[in-house]
């Protein structure tokens, strides 16, 4: 069949015939499937939503101020008690051998942090680095290939705010 006479004045989307079968089979197959997912929402849910979200957006400003003093105190008490407990424990049980950071396996520390026992704030973290440390890291940027870095970030970074934009 010569295409020429059909094409006169008419055009078709790119790849139309190449994709025709797969689109047709998708349609036939899809007839089998239910049209709706079956999920529903409580009555009036969407009407109340704006109010709730606006309330949420405004809430943290008042709330964190109150909590931060309280929680800092609590953390301080807890930390003091924990430190005392560790101190007493190490004096009583381990007089000759105090545990140093070097003796704790790196993986245990990693797990401890990952399990959420300790909250590390980015600003706290940045205090651990001097500007020299940071520029040393930048100098060594070729050490990790972009591919490995991407893979690592995709697998290990959960915070979606980093991925925004």
């Amino acid at each position: 069949m010569k295409d020429k006479k059909h094409k006169e004045g008419f055009d078709i989307p790119n790849q139309y015939f190449e994709e025709f079968e797969s689109r047709l089979f998708d349609r036939i197959n899809i007839e089998l499937l239910p049209k709706s997912s079956g999920f529903r929402v409580p009555q009036g849910y969407f009407n109340e939503l704006e109010k709730q979200i606006i309330h949420q957006v405004k809430k943290p400003i008042n709330k964190t101020k109150v909590i931060s003093i309280l929680s800092r105190k609590t953390i301080l008490y807890a930390a003091t008690i924990a430190a005392l407990a560790v101190l007493i424990f190490s004096i009583v049980n381990n007089q000759n051998k105090a545990l140093t950071l070097d003796e704790i396996e790196f993986s245990s520390i990693k797990t401890y942090i990952e399990e959420g026992y300790i909250e590390i704030d980015n600003s706290d973290l940045s205090l651990l680095f001097t500007e020299e440390d940071l520029s040393a890291i930048t100098l060594e940027e070729n050490y990790i290939s972009e591919e490995i870095l991407n893979e690592y970030l995709l697998e290990n970074i959960n915070d979606s705010s980093i991925l925004i934009e």
Binding site: L33, P34, S37, P42, F46, I53, Q56, N158, S160
Partner: protein, 183 residues
Amino acid sequence: MIEEKQLVSALQSNDENEKAFRILISQYKEGLYWHIRKIVIIHEDADDVLQNTFIKVFKNIDRFKGDSKLFTWMYRIATNESLTFLNKNAKQNNISIEKVKDQLISNLESDIYFEGDAIQIQLQKAIATLPHKQQLVFNMKYFENHTYENLSEILETSVGGLKSSYHIAVKKITNFIKTNETF
């Protein structure tokens, strides 16, 4: 519908932002909700994630530079928030994300906010067997009727890639349903 550019500049202004935010919520709440619900399955969780999504949008609106469309950006945030939620759930229970999804789906029958029958549960089970990206493509195309062009922006994948993803997803889902027919 209010022009997107106008809405963005109102959102980024200091005096009009709350009003603009209300408009934004009312325009996108349903679309985003259903998108999230298909990922996290349970209404209460979808509600949490949806609220977090809007809060994140509100807090980060100044960082929105208009390189993509506003709604594309919001869908990306919603997708990330939903996946972060499932991941957290999986980590807390020390199981895989797939296992979490399986458990959620097997509890659907007793969920008061699920009114589907056996075939709809089968469909959810079938979707859960797909790789994550295919799940997104299928849900967004089949249930939410997004165009491939929109999907391409949201998922940052070529239209051609999405078409073949969808095609494979449909094939796998219908095969699963045919081989697991219980109704």
